[in-house]
């Protein structure tokens, strides 16, 4: 059976890839050691009987907070979507290629 409370370097490498962290091999070794420690201290969660318990997404129930479908007619004149970046071209944001 899989031990959920252990993380190996391969898994840390996989996570580094999907979360775009560019970790070095040294960092991966360091993090997997730290995290194994942490996970070991989390293992006690297995003791808790959760049968029939609902997942609490929020501390209090938060329901049906909606917006009416009205489009803002006027834009704030000061609003410039491109003001926070140098990577732009014309009215477009500029970003990296896909492949």
């Amino acid at each position: 059976m899989k031990d959920y409370w252990k993380i190996d370097e391969d898994l840390v490498r996989h996570i580094s890839l999907i979360s775009k962290l560019n970790l070095t091999n040294e960092e991966m070794t360091g993090y997997s050691k730290d995290l194994n420690d942490v996970l070991e201290s989390f293992r006690i969660l297995e003791e808790v009987d959760i049968t029939g318990v609902d997942a609490a997404f929020h501390p209090l129930s938060v329901e049906n907070a909606f917006r009416e479908d009205t489009a803002s007619k006027e834009k704030d004149n000061a609003w410039d979507p491109l003001s926070a970046t140098e990577n732009k071209e014309g009215d477009y944001y500029k970003g990296p290629k896909i492949i």
Binding site: Y4, I7, L11, V12, I15, S16, I18, S19, K20, L21, N22, L23, E27, Y31, D34, L35, D37, V38, E40, S41, F42, I44, L45, E47, V48, I50, V53, D54, A55, A56, F57, H58, P59, L60, V62, A65, R67, A78, W79, S83, A84, T85, E86, N87, Y93, K94, G95, P96, K97, I98, I99
Partner: protein, 448 residues
């Protein structure tokens, strides 16, 4: 603060001179204790000096959330808490230091320098709202610090600096404009010198906001009215698990405060919160699952630090994130991503959400018997910077064990000074049922 407002009311007051003095003093605090990341540049206007934790957006004032990845970010809008404070005469003096994105217990995971404890500069302020608490203590002017908590980030620094930290019910203060750590727990609150300041601050910034879907739909409340309210007949629960492994002197001080409340007519009873030890792991799993998605957006396009575009998106985003995030942020992204990965999310994320449900029920049952639950704020006195380095991440995370449960469950808490030990402050944390901030303010003012 109270005297200041009375002088303002009586117009016995030169506003220009006042603002100048405040800004000069704030600048001194910044130099002395590294309490600010960014000072307000333009000459502010108002009667009420406020400092704002740097993960709360301020229009036109750089907001980094303590991270290099947002080094260049100037928000185009104010957080609702800030605009409400401004509407009440508040003016922003600066953005206070914090752990990167709130990721810390001591305010030592800081991209812009760690704030120093005003009681002893070799010691930490506590985190993650360390700068806020530091300014609240060190200010020689009336001031309210707008701070924020996810797992104890108001209580911890309030206890370490000897200030009052009020963390309101989840949803009472709008999160619009807050740079998210864990959206289902993040709460904006206040730190002040005394319970009056904290109560005033909360009265100003709380209230319904249509911009935040989790904002509670209720009107403004004046919490200042509860200052000095009789605590006679109030029942206080003292959970024994919250004293396990706590510094002996702190335990003693907390008991002194409880006895003080007893002398004023409150009663107390020891009891047990059996799920206590599960709160911290459950907290970290949920908080980091959410945090790792919140941090995905930082990738060097649209805003924040960037480079000349090169390579494919995988390469470019990775280069920016490698550069922009600190060690603890990366650690938490890894753990949070792990906890929600397919094949693991049921064992971690979903299980933790269910355990949260159980812990909420346990507290709710206790609040049927008690008006408030009293615990130490932190298990230790403010440590030295040099002592922090020897802690492993697992040890550091366990330092949050007294604050994670109320944060996980959205209960309001207030941390009030409970005496000093060798010149270092200790604190008592009072927890109440949702929306019972008035009881906390009454109890806190009684403790002072």
């Amino acid at each position: 603060m109270k005297e200041h407002l009375e002088r303002v009311k009586a117009q016995d007051f030169d506003n220009g001179e006042f603002i100048e003095k405040v800004m000069q003093s704030a600048s001194n605090i910044s130099n002395e204790y590294s309490a600010f990341i960014t000072m307000a540049k333009d000459k502010p206007n108002g009667i009420l000096p406020i400092s704002v934790k740097d993960n709360i957006c301020t229009k036109g004032i750089r907001t980094t959330a303590g991270s290099k990845i947002l080094d260049t970010y100037v928000p185009p809008f104010d957080a609702t808490a800030v605009s409400k404070a401004k509407a009440s005469g508040g003016f922003v003096i600066g953005k206070t230091a914090m752990d990167e994105f709130g990721f810390g217990t001591f305010s030592t995971n800081c991209a812009y320098g760690a704030p120093k404890n005003p009681h002893n500069k070799e010691r930490v302020c506590g985190g993650s709202s360390g700068g806020a608490a530091c300014v609240a203590y060190a200010a020689d002017f009336p001031h309210i610090a707008i701070a924020q908590s996810t797992g104890g980030s108001i209580t911890a620094p309030a206890a370490f600096t000897g200030t009052v930290g009020l963390t309101p019910t989840y949803g009472l203060v709008s999160r619009w404009g807050l740079i998210d750590y864990a959206n289902s727990m993040d709460r904006i609150g206040v730190i002040g010198k005394c319970s009056y300041d904290a109560a005033l601050g909360l009265s100003i910034i709380s209230g319904y906001d249509p911009l935040d879907s989790t904002s509670m739909n209720r009107g403004a409340t004046d919490y200042v009215k509860s200052i000095g309210n009789d605590v006679k007949g109030m029942k206080i629960g003292v959970p024994k698990e919250y004293f396990d492994g706590v510094d002996k002197d702190i335990t003693e001080n907390v008991w002194k405060s409880i006895k003080l409340l007893e002398s004023m007519g409150a009663t107390y009873e020891e009891f047990s919160l059996k799920l206590t030890k599960y709160a911290t792991p459950a907290y970290y799993i949920i908080a980091l699952s959410e945090a790792s998605t919140n941090l995905a957006k930082f990738c060097g396009i649209r805003y924040g630090i960037e480079k000349q575009i090169s390579g494919n998106y995988d390469e470019y985003f990775s280069a920016i994130r490698e550069l922009g995030f600190g060690t603890e942020a990366k650690r938490r992204i890894i753990l949070g991503t792990y906890a929600r990965m397919s094949g693991y999310r049921d064992a971690y994320y979903i299980r933790a959400l269910k355990i949260r449900g159980k812990i909420i029920s346990e507290f709710k049952a206790a609040f049927k018997r008690y008006d408030s639950i009293a615990t130490p704020s932190m298990p230790i006195l403010p440590p030295k910077f040099s002592e922090i380095n020897s802690l492993t991440p697992a040890q550091t995370y366990s330092m949050d064990r007294l604050t994670t449960a109320p944060n996980l469950c959205g209960f309001p808490t207030i941390s009030v000074p409970a005496g000093t030990i060798n010149g270092l402050p200790s604190g008592i944390q009072l927890i109440a049922d949702h929306l019972n901030e008035n009881k906390l303010v009454a109890l806190a003012s009684a403790c002072e």
